[in-house]
């Protein structure tokens, strides 16, 4: 709430079409500042064994908005992302202090079912990782896990998911061919479809376009803008202009701490901290 109020004042001054510090111009988009908070991390510390990877991250992530995490390599942004669906659990020696609440429920409470959590909080990885199965089986993998066996229902889910991830037209005639035959960009959109098929509310994206060519990247970005209407998206990116293009909020991480967090248009035109400005303008990292 604090952030929203603070940004109220600056919104008037920053016009659409203003050049951002990272280059490119701000694009017009729907106002999301009044959306409710979906994810709330409070004083979150994260350790790998004795190494502290995150220092007291407190952050409110809005529903149906795109929040970008930026910062130099090793700054903790991916680590933070992976605390949101507890993917860090799989790393031996990883533990956290503080809390992460989704819809008010602490996801690190002992009673939380991690499998159910990960259905609600989907994840798209840096390197596209389709299963070496058919396109259909890739998308149907999640629903099948969760007990859907009816062919007609599965077909429906697969079609819907592929449509939502803007790849249906390209693959509708060859659903039974191997996903490995798709191009990198298509594979990544298939992975997004695979996530959508389990009907998540939040989608985490870990540099989803960093391994793709510019055209595929543009398609992914367009897709993110589409998905934002129905999903809460948190995206880690190394590409400043991408963050400026797709996100509503931006958080700048450095050395495991969150340096600055606010509306993207503010961060990219008029950041409060000097470190943030240095990073965005490319004088650092």
């Amino acid at each position: 709430m604090l952030i929203a109020e603070e940004n109220q004042g600056t919104r008037e001054k920053i016009k659409m079409g203003t050049r951002t510090l990272a280059g490119g111009v701000l694009v017009d988009r729907e106002d999301v500042t009044l959306n409710p908070v979906k994810i709330f991390s409070q004083e979150l510390d994260m350790f790998y064994g004795s190494v502290q990877a995150l220092h007291g991250i407190t952050m409110e992530i809005k529903e149906r908005a795109v929040t970008a995490l930026i910062g130099p390599s090793g700054c903790g942004k991916s680590t933070f992302l992976r605390t949101l669906n507890r993917m860090n659990d799989t790393i031996p020696g990883a533990r956290i202090k503080g809390s992460v609440k989704i819809d008010g429920i602490d996801i690190y409470e002992p009673g939380v079912n991690v499998a159910v959590l990960r259905r609600m909080v989907g994840m798209v990885f840096q390197k596209q990782n389709p299963f070496p199965k058919s396109i259909f089986d890739n998308v149907a993998y999640g629903p099948r896990l969760h007990g859907i066996t009816d062919k007609a229902v599965l077909e429906n889910i697969v079609e819907e998911s592929l449509k939502k991830s803007a790849i249906w037209e390209e693959v509708k005639d060859r659903l039974d061919t191997s996903a490995m035959q798709l191009s990198g960009g298509q594979q990544q959109r298939l992975c997004i479809a695979r996530v959508l098929a389990v009907d998540p509310e939040i989608i985490l994206m870990d540099e989803p376009a960093s391994a793709l060519d510019p055209l595929s990247t543009a398609k992914i970005e367009e897709l993110i803008r589409q998905l934002r209407k129905n999903y809460t998206i948190v995206i880690v990116t190394h590409n400043m202009q991408q963050a400026a293009r797709v996100s509503d909020y931006t958080a700048y991480f450095y050395m495991g701490s969150m340096v600055e967090f606010g509306e993207t248009r503010k961060i990219f035109t008029n950041p409060v901290k000097k470190e943030t400005e240095d990073y965005i303008t490319g004088r650092f990292g």
């Binding site: 499998a115 159910v116 959590l117 990885f125 999640g142």
Partner: protein, 323 residues
């Protein structure tokens, strides 16, 4: 600066370097040729002396006249039966152990102890396995089973069951190591993808990891069969027989013939061993020895070939998994 650098560089036409190159090339080729020629020689001898013996009659008949004539059908039958039984015991156990080692154990003390045990097991001489089979399976497990179940001398004697179990222990390391390799070759990103979709660890192993490791596991299984099929020492005391006038077959409900795991059996490698050392007339039976050897070698060769075909097939089917 340039001059200083060029002083350290050898001349392009240095005779010494050229000479070293030629010598090492010839040496390496020569050493590589030694095992190749040894294999070629062995194969040549066996085929030349054994091929004449191989007839339909030889492959399908019982031995006759104190095993100086006739066929080797019971040996072929015994070898196939025992290796099948062996793999049925060893494969589930080995795969389960490998899954534990790669997916669950982490890399703590317990993991290292088990790993060391597996490696050491692979280095144990096969005759030790044979003695272990007698001591553990027949005298300890078998006799105690008989005692508890009141089955007289059903379990506590050498038979196909214990011979297969002994062979299974022998090939366990082969299966564990090859399965581990196959599981480790499945990229971590595949597991992450599955877990992130809300799959449990076991669902991930069952639906994603094992299907992708299938080719490697099968290859390991077939290689272990070909290893087990050729072993003599482990079955020496645990179940194989010098000569049996009948096949180790029992009729279920009096009609359906099945392999009797409580019977003794004849086996190819053991047959070669006794024909060469304890036959009534070792010279007269030379053709039978060569013929049996050829059959055994062909069988293992066929199994290895199957392993290769499987590997290629699965590699093609899975497509290339990006790592």
């Amino acid at each position: 600066m340039d001059q200083a650098l060029s002083l350290n560089l050898p001349k392009l036409t240095s005779r010494r370097i050229l000479w070293n190159e030629i010598v090492s090339d010839v040496l390496v080729r020569f050493f590589a040729l030694i095992p190749l020629s040894a294999l070629a020689f062995i194969m040549y001898m066996i085929v030349r002396k054994g091929a004449g013996t191989i007839t339909w009659h030889f492959l399908t008949q019982m031995p006759l006249n104190g095993m100086t004539e006739g066929g080797i059908f019971p040996c072929i039958f015994g070898t196939l039966a025992i290796t099948l039984m062996m793999i049925l015991m060893a494969l589930p156990l080995g795969v389960a152990a490998a899954i534990y080692l790669t997916e669950f154990s982490g890399h703590g003390m317990f993991f290292r102890v088990i790993r060391a045990a597996v490696n050491n097991l692979a280095g144990v001489p096969s005759i030790v396995f044979g003695l272990f089979g007698v001591g553990f399976f027949i005298l300890f497990v078998g006799r105690n089973l008989d005692h508890v179940l009141k089955t007289g001398m059903l379990f506590g004697q050498p038979c196909m069951l214990w011979a297969a179990a002994t062979l299974a222990v022998l090939v366990l390391p082969v299966i564990i190591v090859s399965t581990e390799e196959a599981l480790n070759a499945v990229p971590q990103s595949q597991r992450s993808a599955s877990l992130a979709l809300g799959a449990t660890k076991w669902q991930t192993i069952w639906n994603v990891v094992l299907p992708q490791a299938r080719g490697g596991i099968l290859t390991g299984a077939i290689l272990s069969i070909s290893r087990g099929a050729g072993e003599t020492a482990p079955i020496l005391f645990t179940g194989c027989a010098y000569f049996l006038p009948r096949l180790p077959v029992v009729h279920l409900f009096g009609v359906i013939p099945i392999v009797n795991p409580f019977d003794q059996f004849m086996e190819l490698s053991y047959h070669i061993f006794i024909m060469a050392t304890q036959s009534l007339d070792a010279v007269k039976t030379l053709p039978i020895q060569y013929g049996t050897t050829l059959v055994l070698i062909s069988l293992t060769f066929l199994l290895n070939l199957t392993a290769i075909v499987f590997r290629i097939h699965f590699r093609k089917k899975m497509g290339t998994v990006s790592i």
